[in-house]
Symmetry: C2
Subunit: 222 residues, 2 copies
């Protein structure tokens, strides 16, 4: 039996395939041109579906990217837990956090878009699924970090993990300048040197300072 | 002689008045509904000009907000320098940084939009003016912070100032959730408690940890 290519997916496994194809197209487009430049129409075109068909699977562009952020977060969690599973000198824990983030540009781009964009224009259901995942992952990461870095309590390690994710988002944006800023930096090396933070060393150093500093705050009032 | 209300401004003082009126309208709209929700058309309507007239003064919406960010940055710089001019225990320096940021919600909103939005769609001239101001202000702030907090070198104090600005931007966005996330937080207090950082204490604590931790990194390889 021959079938037209783009019939509506009715069987669960076909629906799952469509869902995966949409996520894959959104992932590829974001890696090519940055999350901020991808539209729902662009994703629909890339996956060969009408926009009205894409929204059967994800209500909005933002819901697609929240789902990709959850996936990327799980992947980051697993990488950190695996690398910290081997004996790690406490000082290398922040290197693991920073390197695993630097190895995941799409994750960092998504983190930078999160509060201002990806959490807008989403259903309560999508928001709840995302936030429950975020809580589970940051709790798990905090425990793994505290085990490998015994000077930190679990609460401090969770705090460090949150700060790592926030800083990764804003440093990624600052270290990947817009065309206008990139042109300016080429003309003015003193501005490049002073204002364009190299992602990995800047993040690693900030996390090392935080990990050293957080335990010194224990006796201070909140 | 009577004149129609909205003739083109020809004299320098009239041009300056128009410019100020545009900035003031953009500032007011951003305070009312958030920088992300303000369009160039909205600014033009608020100031009673055609869009084509507004772009004689600022090429794009982003150039208007870069200019407001420069102004707000100067205001922050002056407030910090003034408060640190009085004798300040070193431990209170980060409180001054955090409190002066918390008192400036539009500045924090703009900082959160900077790399991803406000530095796009701007002329090289606007980009250069903004970045030269940013360099001058962070250098000045670094010197003022180092004078009041002698455990920090000027370079470390400049670093702390940059981190304060980045963190203020992302914490502001995270602590001012979208309608969907706000509704979720109302239903799920455990997610609110774990994932919605209160702006001022979170920023203050992160800066205190950074200020304590940065000097411990001096003997480590970069």
């Amino acid at each position: 039996m021959t079938r037209p290519t783009f019939v509506r997916a009715r069987r669960p496994e076909h629906k799952q395939q469509r869902r995966e194809a949409i996520l894959e197209a959104a992932r590829r487009l974001a890696l090519e041109s940055g999350v901020r430049n991808v539209t729902l129409g662009g994703v629909a075109t890339a996956v060969g579906l009408a926009k009205s068909n894409v929204v059967r699977y994800f209500g909005t562009r933002e819901e697609i990217y929240l789902e990709l952020l959850s996936e990327a977060g799980r992947d980051w969690h697993d990488a950190v837990v695996q690398r910290l599973g081997a004996p790690t000198p406490p000082g290398d824990v922040v290197t693991v956090l920073a390197e695993t983030l630097a190895e995941r540009p799409l994750f960092c781009d998504l983190l930078g878009q999160l509060s201002q964009h990806l959490e807008h224009n989403v259903s309560l259901t999508a928001a709840r699924a995302f936030k429950e995942t975020a809580l589970e992952l940051t709790t798990g990461l905090g425990r793994a970090v505290a085990r490998a870095h015994p000077e930190l309590t679990v609460d401090e390690a969770v705090e460090l993990t949150h700060l790592a994710a926030w800083l990764a988002g804003c440093l990624y944006a600052a270290s990947h300048p817009s065309p206008a800023i990139a042109e300016l930096y080429q003309q003015e090396p003193h501005l490049l040197a002073a204002l364009c933070p190299p992602f990995l060393p800047t993040l690693r150093r900030a996390l090392a300072a935080l990990a050293a500093g957080l335990p010194t705050l224990r006796d201070q009032p909140a």
